[in-house]
């Protein structure tokens, strides 16, 4: 990793970017060396592709209750591979379409919660003093609060729809990210180059933007992947409880219909297994990728696996 002879001609910015590119390449290499993580990544990419391409490769008419062609609750056969639901719609088609909203809500809620968590975490570590004390108390408060009850309360007062779910998950799931980011920021800010940067006149914006943020970014990335899994389960739970948009197709709503419209009492297991297994699989993919990233990027875990 010694600098090439041409380094003298490069600007500091170019050097920084070259090092970052090399770092990313190294990370990818270490990540791809873990079979489970790589498998999770490939399957996740395939799932996202399927979700994006659904309008092209399948017919959304099958989702419409009035255009359903099958008999209610018929078991799996040659025509409907996973059987039909109470309205005679194909469970396979519904499950595939459920991927779209689950992924969308999962990603959007995660972005929101990681954003809140990162800002509060960095602020709590960077500013110190009473700001830090208040932010920490605030974080601990939200950490112990029963998040599902808070999310239910929030979604009861907001208009029904997927963005309400995103908001409800986003504002309840951030405290663990905030704690993680705070710890990492404290570690980074105790290093001598931060002191040097301050001595040279670097302000808050400079220190946080140029040094702290690039330092916490890898850890935040690994954490984000793990948070998506939790957000997808939270989304399924909330839509199962009937919080979401009643017209959209989600895995949680499919399971709610199965319970309330008699599929469960009639033992129609083909209405239960597909959406549930879909949730478990997608969460598993995210967990595999997240664990893999964490192993590579978290300095605390690194020694244990090499």
């Amino acid at each position: 990793m010694t600098a090439p002879a041409t380094a003298a001609a490069e600007t500091p910015r170019a050097i920084a970017w070259r090092r970052r590119r090399a770092g990313i390449a190294r990370t990818w290499h270490e990540f791809a060396a873990q079979k489970a993580a790589l498998a999770g990544f490939v399957l996740l990419v395939l799932t996202v592709l399927l979700a994006l391409l659904l309008p092209v490769i399948s017919d959304s008419d099958g989702l419409d209750v009035t255009k359903a062609t099958g008999h209610p609750l018929s078991p799996p056969d040659g025509q409907f591979w996973l059987g039909t639901d109470i309205d005679g719609r194909s469970v396979l088609l519904l499950t595939m379409w459920g991927t779209r909203i689950s992924l969308l809500v999962g990603f959007a809620a995660t972005v929101l919660s990681v954003l809140i968590g990162t800002v509060i975490g960095i602020a709590a570590a960077h500013f110190g003093g009473w700001i830090s004390t208040i932010l920490l108390r605030f974080t601990d408060f939200f950490l112990v609060l029963p998040s599902l009850v808070l999310a239910i309360a929030l979604s009861a007062v907001l208009p029904q729809g997927i963005w309400t779910i995103v908001l409800a998950i986003g504002v309840t799931a951030w405290p663990s990210t905030a704690r993680l980011v705070r710890a990492q920021t404290l570690t980074i800010e105790s290093r001598p180059y931060i002191e040097r940067s301050r001595a040279l006149g670097g302000g808050h914006l400079h220190v946080v933007g140029k040094h702290v943020l690039p330092g916490v970014a890898p850890l935040v990335l690994a954490n984000t992947t793990l948070v998506v899994g939790n957000s997808i389960i939270a989304d399924a739970t909330l839509s199962f409880l009937g919080v979401g948009d009643p017209t959209s197709i989600t895995w949680g709503a499919m399971l709610e219909t199965a319970l309330n419209n008699g599929a469960v009492s009639r033992g129609a297991w083909w209405n239960l297994l597909p959406p549930g297994i879909a949730i478990v699989l997608v969460v598993l993919f995210f967990t595999l990728v997240g664990r893999g990233l964490e192993t590579v990027l978290n300095p605390r875990l690194k020694g244990q696996h090499s």
Partner: protein, 342 residues
Amino acid sequence: MTQALTSDQAAVLVDPDENRGGTGTTRFVLTKIAEALASILLVIVLGFLLFRLLPGDPVAFMVRERPTDPAQIAELRDRLGIDKPLLTQFWDYFTGLFRGDFGTSYIERRPVLDMIGERLWPTVLLVGSATVLAVALGLWLGIRAAWKRDSFFDRAQTGIALTLWSVPQFWLGLLLLVVTGGLFPSRGMHSPDAGPGFFAQGLDVLHHLVLPCVTLLAVFYAQYMLVMRSSLLGEMNADYLTTARAKGLRDDLVRRRHAVPNALLPTVTLVFMQFGMVVSGAVTVEAVFSWPGLGQLTYDALHGPDLPVLQGVFVVLASAVVLMNLLAELLYRVLDPRVRTA
């Protein structure tokens, strides 16, 4: 996964900032109680703001689909105190809580506190029995898994626990309903045809309890098991175990008398720490099995929507979680002499 799980746990249990203040136990206890009280105050403020500031006029909620004249609406507005300044409203709400006035349900038109009171015991029964069983099962499996580290038993148990841990609870409940196929009652807590008398009634409730309790148990025991396992693994190479073995103690005596008591500490406090998760689990599982507890009350209130009930349940459950965490912190101090003298 186990490593991350326990390090998170440890981070919560042993706060590095804890030694800021004095070292006296009294001071520690008072600080913790003051912090818990501040948290409960914050819960009340949050509960108040959540249902007042957000969009939606409560009066419009209450009178929708019912013929009402303007005079009735005005009377309602006056009774709810909606036209007063926000701070006055908060003060009325706050002092009301201390008089046991949690508001009146929009739908059932009864005091919210009464509704919460009659739903409390079914939830305590469900959550209590599931927790006791989860602790017993989790500790038993965790101890055995750690003692035979990396054996087939260890790897199989850890795998099963992690899988159950990541499955959505309500889905597990639905699967149990279909798999048992009518062997156990699927709804409620009593059946109308149960005979009179204490014994028959008790059996009937137990019969109804089986499925919701097993569902909660399946999800809860995993964490006890994993924490107990890694906590015991941490003790495994300790010198005092070598000494105990050198004295000639049999293997299971070494385990029972020396290793387990020392490893038990994190799991004991976990019972209280877990409470927030237990509450969330109860809400979903009660919704699946129509168990007439606080979770079912929340579910019904959400569909009303019955905002005063939701507000009351939120304040009660969140305060309970804060109190449980306070207990966990105090208990940890009592049980661990290292923390006490630090």
